[in-house]
Amino acid sequence: MHKDLNKKKCLEIFKQLYLTRRYSETVVDLGDKGYIRGPLHPGLGMEAVCVGVLNAIDNNDFIGLSHRGQAAYAVRNVKIGILLAEQFGKKDGCNHGKGGTMHFNLFNEKRLFEVDSEVAGKVPIFTGVALGCKLRGLKQISVVFYGDGGMSEGWVHESMNLAKTFNLPIIFVVENNRYAVTTKVEYACSVKNLTDRAKAYGFEGIEVDGMDVEKIYTVTKESVLKVRNGSGPINIIANTYRFCGHFTAEKILNLHYRSQEEVEEWEKRDPILTWPQKLIEEGICKREEIESVKEMVEKEIIEAVEFAKSSELPTPEDALRGMYATEYPGIPRKGWF
């Protein structure tokens, strides 16, 4: 075990993993029951990447999340209630019901940014954030998550070039879950070794097992040190897998892009199972301690659901507020009604 990962930290990490998992499952369940509108994109199976990376950096470093980065909220102690309230479209949601799933905004409070849901859209934005940090002389670094699908998007390439050009303090984390919706990474991506992309721009790319929190933690710790010293960007490729479909509607679509065996093979490496097992095997903590964490999480989830259910819906007229920071009469225009 990495020297920084003491018992307390290890249990905390388990709590974060488990809370994320339970939150995702709860959301899917609530979606099925009709409490949450629209499709959901849970990161089931991919929790380790986010948890590993976020534990290895400071709490005030800037994070651009992918749409499967729900674990980040658990790591930064966000109340699950306000996320659920947002997904219920309620007033107490973190975006007051305007953003919904995939757009949680906790940037001011927690430096977590998920507002934008464009494919890899946060990559150029966070290149800008990193540039801003450099211009303003801030010590914070930026970490931005995107998927293997996003790697084919033009602005990811532009951002990597720009980040190296200005030697920006940014870590690009690719959550390579092997499928861009249904398209295999081997089909869409022209390099076998994904780290070659970074090398083509003259900076380091590191591949890491994305199901192993400790490995991710170690790699990130080392990278952060270099990035903070001003040696420019780093690209981490974390190989992981999503256990669920691309989105919740997938189960009715009858898709055949991957085999059941493949899913089961990966499920054996589920961080929610392997991490506590490792802790127990290495004698870091006891089974009972793990169980008590689980109980705590269940309670938290129940409270959060209650909170979200009891929160009020926004008033319809709110729909026209919040578009502009400097307001003028007559905008936003709304037509005749």
Binding site: G121, G128, A325
Partner: protein, 322 residues
């Protein structure tokens, strides 16, 4: 008062704003003009370390300006080819214009896009010849298009101080036009139109360089035939100053709109639809639109004139409804 060209006025405003506010940065692409551009303007903005030169990657540059704004800076992004708006359409329409709203009104994106040399009069064949502001209006972004040097400075400064993304278009045709510009820093509020010439028979709504066309025609018609033309320059296309237009239209009851962007779903259509919906009772005659046709700009001179709005078309339109 001293006279400056429109572009000099704009960059003077920008330079002073950069020195005044430590958060204002100029992000510009490296390009062919770089070395001499500011020498020509007699402006030493480049000596300022708050000017960031970037490689040509428009989508990322515009999107990263959103990132700069996210942590409290007020970037001014110079777009010197109008293609940039198309290449970075996602970053403009889907990110900058939307993110504040999606965040529940919590985040703020004070970004200014300064679009210089943006139309057909810049000797580039048909390329870089678009005036894509109607796209941005449809996307909900504030759009400013000054028609003279004095407006250029004041509106640009307002745009920089505005807390939302604002696109400022400096039409090529007016870049070199000189006008009186106060030395001190001043602002002209967004969303306020100006009556560039008063009149009582007909209102001409004109934007950008078309304002000058309209004023010339107005003078000519007044002198030669006693037709009194009022020239209405909205200056800000979004927010649009309906109230001033109402005043003008209640007086004249007749409107011609002249605008240099394609006609379908363009700015002229928006003004016309406002008139048809809200000020219908004042209207005595059809609302005429003189705009660019829905056709790209051809190279051939003989074809160009069919595509672009010009004074002859405006004059005909005025006569047709007087």
């Amino acid at each position: 008062m001293r006279e400056l060209s429109c572009i000099q006025a704009a960059y003077e405003g920008l330079e002073k704003e950069i020195s005044r506010d430590q958060n204002v940065y100029l992000i510009k692409k490296e390009n062919i003009f770089n070395k001499k551009f500011f020498e020509v303007l007699n402006n030493d903005i480049l000596k300022n370390d708050k000017v960031i030169s970037t490689p040509k990657s428009e989508a990322t540059i515009i999107s990263s300006a959103t990132g700069l704004a996210l942590i409290g800076l007020r970037p001014v992004v110079e777009l010197n080819q109008i293609e940039d708006i198309f290449l970075a359409f996602s970053a403009l329409i889907d990110q900058a214009a939307k993110l504040r709203y999606i965040s529940g009104g919590k985040l703020m994106f004070p970004i200014t896009y300064l679009c210089v040399e943006n139309n057909v009069y810049n000797d580039n064949d048909g390329q870089h010849s678009d005036n894509p502001y109607s796209f941005l209006i449809h996307g909900g972004m504030k759009v400013v298009i000054p028609s003279c040097a004095c407006d250029a400075k004041g509106l640009l400064v307002s745009a920089i101080r505005d807390n939302d993304p604002v696109a400022v278009f400096l039409p090529t045709r007016v870049l070199a036009e000189k006008g009186e510009v106060p030395e001190e820093q001043y602002t002209i509020p967004l969303g306020k139109a100006e009556i560039k010439k008063t009149g009582s028979d007909i209102t001409v709504v004109a934007t950008g360089h078309c304002v000058n066309i309209a004023i010339d025609i107005a003078r000519k018609l007044e002198a030669e035939e006693g037709i009194s033309v009022e020239v209405f320059d909205p200056r800000t296309l979004l927010p649009f100053d309906k109230e001033t237009l109402e005043k003008s239209i209640s007086k004249t009851g007749k409107v011609v709109i002249i605008d240099d962007s394609p006609i379908s779903c363009g700015f002229a259509s928006m003004v016309s639809s406002i008139l048809m919906e809200e000020y219908y009772e004042y209207l005595k005659r059809p609302v005429r639109r003189i705009t660019r046709e829905d056709i790209p700009i051809p190279f051939s001179k003989s074809l160009k004139k069919y595509v672009l709005p010009n004074s002859e078309k405006l004059e005909n339109a005025i006569r047709s409804i007087i």
